[in-house]
Symmetry: D2
Subunit: 333 residues, 4 copies
Amino acid sequence: MIVVVNNNASKEQFDNLVSWIEAQNVKLHFSKGETHTVIGLVGDTTKIDTELLEGLDIVSQVTRVSDPFKNANRKFHPDDTTVTVGNTKVGCGNFALIAGPCSVESEEQIVEIAKAVKAAGATMLRGGAFKPRTSPYDFQGLRDEGLKLLLTAKKEVGLPIVTEIMNADHIPLFEDVDVIQVGARNMQNFELLKELGKTNKPILLKRGLANTLKEFLMSAEYVMSEGNENVILCERGIRTFETYTRNTLDISAVPMLKELSHLPVVVDPSHASGVSRLVKPLSLSAAAVGADGLMIEVHNNPQYARCDGPQSLTPAQFEDTAKAVKKVLEAIK
Amino acid sequence: MIVVVNNNASKEQFDNLVSWIEAQNVKLHFSKGETHTVIGLVGDTTKIDTELLEGLDIVSQVTRVSDPFKNANRKFHPDDTTVTVGNTKVGCGNFALIAGPCSVESEEQIVEIAKAVKAAGATMLRGGAFKPRTSPYDFQGLRDEGLKLLLTAKKEVGLPIVTEIMNADHIPLFEDVDVIQVGARNMQNFELLKELGKTNKPILLKRGLANTLKEFLMSAEYVMSEGNENVILCERGIRTFETYTRNTLDISAVPMLKELSHLPVVVDPSHASGVSRLVKPLSLSAAAVGADGLMIEVHNNPQYARCDGPQSLTPAQFEDTAKAVKKVLEAIK
Amino acid sequence: MIVVVNNNASKEQFDNLVSWIEAQNVKLHFSKGETHTVIGLVGDTTKIDTELLEGLDIVSQVTRVSDPFKNANRKFHPDDTTVTVGNTKVGCGNFALIAGPCSVESEEQIVEIAKAVKAAGATMLRGGAFKPRTSPYDFQGLRDEGLKLLLTAKKEVGLPIVTEIMNADHIPLFEDVDVIQVGARNMQNFELLKELGKTNKPILLKRGLANTLKEFLMSAEYVMSEGNENVILCERGIRTFETYTRNTLDISAVPMLKELSHLPVVVDPSHASGVSRLVKPLSLSAAAVGADGLMIEVHNNPQYARCDGPQSLTPAQFEDTAKAVKKVLEAIK
Amino acid sequence: MIVVVNNNASKEQFDNLVSWIEAQNVKLHFSKGETHTVIGLVGDTTKIDTELLEGLDIVSQVTRVSDPFKNANRKFHPDDTTVTVGNTKVGCGNFALIAGPCSVESEEQIVEIAKAVKAAGATMLRGGAFKPRTSPYDFQGLRDEGLKLLLTAKKEVGLPIVTEIMNADHIPLFEDVDVIQVGARNMQNFELLKELGKTNKPILLKRGLANTLKEFLMSAEYVMSEGNENVILCERGIRTFETYTRNTLDISAVPMLKELSHLPVVVDPSHASGVSRLVKPLSLSAAAVGADGLMIEVHNNPQYARCDGPQSLTPAQFEDTAKAVKKVLEAIK
């Protein structure tokens, strides 16, 4: 860590700062310029609160040389992490194909879709029971009932299930769920992340719509610092000024996250674009860029899906996409 | 609401759509063009899920003529709302001056600051007990203990208190709190908003860092639709590409929110800028633009504040700012 | 086009509006609601200035059903356009591989790189002579001299050349250049676009760093409306809040542009990321998503390149990338 | 300037770097950590190209301690600059009130508006002759003819005139213009900036819609480094995700620019919001935050203005705004 101090600091202020830093168990090197003195901090600076330092009037800049996340950091865990989910794996060469409807609507619907996506090559079934909706007047999901229907589909077809949680109080309801998803809007719901860190469930953590990669990895760190290392990162598009697509898929985030962290990274092309016609090309681009999996919305009747219809594929479109993704994965081996 | 349908829709598809819309209790008007047919929906369309319509392949565009929020909408409540907080009021000519430290740190600290800000004209005391921090390794607040210290300060100086909640489970702990704050990161924590809607406490709702004004008002609607109409909106800066300031204060949001809604709007210049030197000019600009109040971080020793030090004013700076704000309020009367 | 009029308009205001619209040679359909009247405009609305309509107090909303670009619009030109560049083509199955240094630095440098990229499969040579730099103190390019060196390299190796123009006055200097590039910062330099529209040179138009796809296509329209239909679109990353990469590659822009327009679309992964390590994965993702080509920075000594060193590949890295791109193109055929 | 070097650099690489830096006439200080070595550069680093350093594989980070602009930098010119425009001044306590139509449309129009705004207290007349429009099919301004009409109005009412240039070739046409405006889309048209730097005309430089304050000041530096120090900065809103307003007025930019630079800063609330109802509150907020002036669109018939009608004030609204601004200026003295 580098701390730049104004030379107009008084001797007392400067000495106070130096003794505070020394108390953090790091070594200091000084480089005095005409207007500023640069202090280099050498040692473990992960837990030093940079905002505290920036708060001092005499400090004009604080720069981290190393990233403030530790458990999620590739520097300390050079090998890729593989997350095991029931009878399947994600990461380190295991490509996850997660598919299913935005919302669970009925037993018939979820079982039918589960069969179709399994036949097309899906390795996990997704489906929303608790739905975060912008408007209180929109459909909020079947909630507990939806979870039961997902478990019925799981028993019927044998795919592990992925579904979203919105409240730490609901954790007991997710006992038989294979992967608990944290949605973009809850990426910084730290109370929820801490509680999920105390479980041993794989967590699929979606990037918030205006969160940097650093913040994203700090949220993974919240889960991991409580002891749960089974975190799968999911890039799902960020908010920009462009409006032709619902969000802007940040495809560069995939190789960048894999450089910064050892955790597996999957891509959700359905929410990223909000347009079903773009799901296939974006899936191919995610496979080509090195993602460890895809999460795709599939509905047997996208026209009447109770939410997010515009971005869902039909089972036939999903099958076509899955085949094309396989070819791209072969090509980049 | 306007629905634009492609003329390449089959007669069956078109008729299905028309009957679905008719079932929503609205009247329809048709305007047929060469490539598209425009359907105008007349009546109460607030509760129609536009995403469902956009999901249909034959629909190329859906536009709302009226906004999807009702309780928060000025059209249905032309008069300004005044929110009563203990012995003070916000809105409709009552300017709120909310001040205090980012975090409660000790009884001595919070009582001393409370006295200082009261003397300088503050109408409410703020202070964080539960703190949302990006890193799990940063100070997380004194939690329950912090709430107790706030209540001590309240008893001591007689100012109503404002403090942030992060979890619906904690609502019972907030029984003696005067205003419950929902932070930017929880603006779309819908489970929390619904529970707060069942209380009768004034809610200070902060805008999310990448949320539109429409989403902001929909979140207010979550609280109001459960029966709690005591919502105060707070603009606190949005995330943009600019990095000189921590966030970008969206000053236009103030008059725009007051046009769209009858709820009071306050501004937080401390978080908006993250720079204490900007707090005074931004406070003046918020007063001039028509805000109903300010929420300002004040610390008796900003150099050693346990969080957000760089953006805190000293009590003397706050007093100076409060006086200047008063003059601007006089000038725009 | 749809115009929504407030019902509080006076009869005179409403009649004035109606006669103004009728004078634009379009037909009108009316749909009267409780608070608003919706007017549907049927016919060629491409040249109606929507801002003029939005300017009227009685108008609360104007929405285009069809896009305001015509020459660039796929609706009017359903088939893909192929742009011929010397002995090579771009679009409609012809994949362009454009490579070369950010800046031309010397005859030795440009000829050596030209040979290397040709050997690795490049179909065109790029190189900057006129360089737009944020700081007046940074290297501004060899200018006229740089153009001459590019032409030497062209003669030597036989690759068509692509280079950037910054000023309409320089057009005569570009007589032997094969493709004239318009950089992101000049995407809305309309005076320059118009002059380029009067030439018959292929134009490689880069998307501005904060421009929507609609604005991008309107800029293509500026060139095309003057008679030059040889436009190649180039996605090169947009500005967002994320800072790990220099820009954010908007990969969805490729399929979306190809849906909206018949023009070929190439991707510049070097400027999009600003990080040479990301150039290969992003190139693969662009090939997979359906781009018509790539523009990649290659330098024989990226360590000492006079600009944009961090994002340049070595010739060996470029060869490796070109081979991998070929495999992906095979896979998605 | 601080350069962070990876310790896995070879001795040769490290020594090469050190000798390259030493050749830039700065002194070096070293601070060696476990994984990185921090090099502090002491001396005039303004003209060192940071991208070149970042380009080296062995360099992991480069941070400027001082800003790369010199002429525009307050550190080297602590006193406020006053720009003289005809019989009026801007900056250092002189508040500029620039008003007029978006486009000059006819002699009658421009003279009538000029008289009205002068009567209401305007200190300069603005009006567009050359108009940058997103669509080639929209009105492009009266061009040369428009300039002549502006000069007529100037002669008639005696106000200095401000009008936009789009092409360096047009500079001779602007001989009698008092202030040459560079629009947001041309903020990084460096060829134009350099030519304007060779004139002695006051330049009103608008911030680009997605440009940082640093880039904005570097563009001012382009003009100033050629010898023209008469630059007025203009904040006119930036592009964000919010769509209720055309742009987002970055009000914090005003005090931040005044801290970084000695140049005067004016605000354009008309383009910033695109909504005439917001022009008055935003004008008051700009006055309160410390701006040195305002540039406001005024039209005698906003309903039929040929461009940007929705954001223009009537002369009566302008008069009302001007009076209110005066009161706020008094209040903050």
